[in-house]
Symmetry: C2
Subunit: 485 residues, 2 copies
């Protein structure tokens, strides 16, 4: 046992004290009268807590005090009025799962040291592949959607041009990829890392609802071919980051078929909707993809990190990433080494992201998720109606099609200005409201500009603890803060 936890009684008491601190935190986080955060600028914050690494050990009592202070100064992302991110809420079964994961502290590269978690990952992957609608396939849990997208682009390149792995990209024609202008920046990020180049990752225009325009995609592909580039990869986004838009899969898949391109679906955010038979039609056509990114840490509510990259062609992940390190993946082990997953990963050590997801999914069943997700979609419809009806509010896209509801609050003082001047003033309203909101600490919601649109709020309804009253509260709070601006 660690040097300053040198007897079991003391250890046990320390751990139980930590748990007591955590339970109190959860209780408070779920109390709507508690603040979400106590905002301080970085310089002030540094005065409030000593973060330095000391020369001498701290006592257990000091460590407990450290824990309390850190929680006190943090942001309560599980608070029912925290609407700031795509991943909101704290599922307590998933949290308990993560506690166990920490205690079991193993590594997902071999069956040898993670037998049960490796089998669990296989089982959950099988279920998710069934949900996607493939008859076969493989997957790897990755540390977040950006890395999952990188896996997909790299596998696509390997499928089309296997000699890039040994020989590199230098003696190759210029490859190019396509993604909507509203897609996640990690697609361009993957193009940068893989040596394909961000300029060779083309942004395809979207329609007024934020969906990729398939005709524009095809025109761009044809143009690239005429320019001597070699198209290989198309990313369709299901549930875009800002608008929650659904790129039209059947049409995009047709374009990919016509040009023999790899279709990747980035459903990091939208993937969870497949668990609702009522709403999954938005993702119709996803079964035609060659790869899919789906983050259970978003809509499904698993704790960060929990993300997976699915590849339809079984064996391709191995072929792409295998480095055959014989000191790790020996072939003369006493068990069937096809269960060792290490050689299909880009990572060597890989965190166990599966247990929390598995335990949480068991706690809900397919039925529980269906209800939970349908309820969130109902709340989104309620909120949308509320925004439509409330004076001073305007929807950016009406109706929203997912759990992102983008809107402006227009203070009375600028409601009657002409469009240009109103937009110029609106650009500054959301940041000012957000700043004030963070000072008050009552609620949090994100904002951003987009193309010609001035800064607007992006509401996200993904925390299962949200009630209609919480949505009403947000609408009133913004009026309260912004009405005299």
């Amino acid at each position: 046992l660690p040097q300053n936890v040198n007897n079991w009684k003391g250890t046990e008491k320390f751990l139980k004290d930590v748990v007591e601190i955590l339970l109190n935190y959860i209780k408070e986080e779920n109390d709507r009268n508690s603040k979400i955060l106590d905002f301080h600028h970085p310089a002030e914050m540094q005065q409030l807590i000593d973060l330095s690494i000391p020369d001498h050990p701290e006592t257990l009592a000091q460590l407990l005090e450290n824990c309390r202070n850190v929680l006190r100064l943090g942001v309560r992302t599980g608070h029912p009025r925290f609407f700031n991110q795509i991943s909101c809420g704290l599922d307590l079964v998933a949290m308990a799962g993560e506690w166990l994961t920490a205690t079991a502290n193993t590594n997902m590269f071999t069956y040898e040291i993670a037998p049960i978690f490796i089998l669990m990952e296989k089982e959950v992957i099988k279920k998710m592949i069934e949900v996607i609608g493939w008859s076969d396939g493989d997957a790897i849990f990755a540390p977040g959607g950006a890395i999952a997208n990188l896996y997909a682009m790299n596998a696509a390149r390997h499928h089309h041009f296997p000699r890039v792995k040994p020989l590199g990209q230098s003696d190759m024609p210029t490859l190019c990829a396509f993604t909507s202008e509203d897609s996640h920046y990690s697609i361009k990020g993957a193009a940068a890392v893989t040596g394909i180049g961000t300029d060779n990752c083309f942004s395809i225009p979207t329609d007024s609802r934020g969906r990729m325009i398939p005709e524009a995609l095809e025109q761009r592909i044809l143009q690239c071919k005429r320019d001597g580039l070699v198209p290989f990869f198309v990313c369709a986004t299901e549930g875009t980051t800002v608008y929650g838009a659904w790129d039209p899969l059947p049409q995009i898949a047709d374009v990919c078929d016509r040009h023999n391109l790899w279709l990747h679906v980035d459903a990091a955010w939208g993937g969870g909707l497949m668990l609702s038979p009522e709403h999954r039609y938005h993702l119709n056509g996803i079964e035609r993809a060659q790869s899919v990114t789906w983050n259970p840490h978003k809509l499904m509510g698993a704790l960060l990190q929990c993300s997976a990259c699915f590849i339809k062609q079984d064996g391709l992940l191995f072929q792409t990433n295998q480095m055959s390190a014989d000191y790790l993946f020996q072939q003369d082990k006493p068990y069937d080494v096809s269960y060792d997953t290490g050689d299909k990963a880009m990572q060597c050590g890989r965190h166990n992201d599966i247990f929390k997801l598995w335990l949480m999914w068991r706690s809900k069943g397919m039925e529980g998720y269906r209800k939970q997700i349908n309820r969130l979609m109902d709340l989104a419809a309620y909120f949308t109606a509320k925004i439509r009806q409330t004076e001073g509010y305007e929807l950016v896209i009406d109706p929203p099609e997912f759990l992102n509801i983008c809107f402006w609050y227009v203070p009375p003082s600028i409601r009657h200005l002409d469009a240009a001047e109103k937009n110029a003033r609106l650009e500054k309203i959301a940041p000012k409201i957000k700043a004030k909101m963070m000072e008050r600490g009552t609620t949090m919601v994100g904002y951003q500009p987009d193309k010609q649109r001035p800064n607007f709020f992006r509401m996200i309804i993904s925390n299962q603890a949200i009630t209609r009253e919480d949505l009403d509260f947000l609408v009133q709070e913004i009026i309260e803060i912004g009405k005299n601006m």
Copy 2:
């Protein structure tokens, strides 16, 4: 609160029951009479537990039973006689830190939603940079050493050839990289992902102690130049995976200087030794590196995952990875946005890997780590002496220079064979002993072949719970299992 944890009393009881299960597990894991694992082949294992995703929710009682079963069927990687991996042991303060991290469940991309953890990361990075011996620099915590090495290679490429980011590698000359034949396979992995190509990542021979030969490095660089390739990156490994060898940094740095190459030091495993003033001389010269990978989840004992990539040139991580997604990293926020780290990461969502490290480091201080690491080095010396003295054992490299002790156990029946036949028989001994060891469940240690050497055991002494008696036990246990083979 989650649907099937719908009252606080019930929730609290469930979480406390989970903690009780975890505390019992820890107690048992530290009992030397308990087994490390109860080995089952994959097919048998699947019979012992139902891993399927159910249609209907499970009860809290069933979830608790799930937790118990999963722990019962897993491998106790924190057991004092588990010597199988480079990351061994379960530091209970780090574990408590990870529990809090799960509860706080936030995302490391902005100060907005992780203020205290962002500042904490800055502070710990500052300390680690000071330990490396740089006057300035930047770093990013990455999901494991393989991704940290990928960060380094990509940053090196961006530093030398910034136009690859927009334009890709296709119109570039063929870049090449160098790493020792004993280095971690993730260096070649990074060459594959980045589009540089594994064949352009040259393996430099090592000496009889597993250290890169600087003259061979320079010859290879010159050869590559003659062949029209463009060298840009050299990886020196400090603490190789199998032998724990130390590549000679001053000489390698001189070679890099002469040829204007980026020196990356992969100290994923060996980095922790810098915390011991008595032993850090092994890493002399590390301050001359342009980048360093250092995994606190290895020698420092943080839970997996905890790894960082350090870059000497401040600003380069941003320049390399920045995608400027304005929906996430708005410049009109109410605080100093230079604290938002998201745009220097390849990842978007990034797990909080800092809190457990910070809390653990506070619990030990610099002094505690110095003692802990010196004690492990003393135990390694003890074990080495024991192996030398015990009949039937042979060291692969004598003396070992780090916490990896590689050895053969030679059963009496083959001790007097000639070298060729002995080696042929030895090749099969370690796997047979390991299989039997896993069946008995008493201890675990890894093995592998290397170049012309038949399978040998690689002992790792990194769990702070290890005592001399545990080392004696391993030596006896192998004799017990292997003496009649």
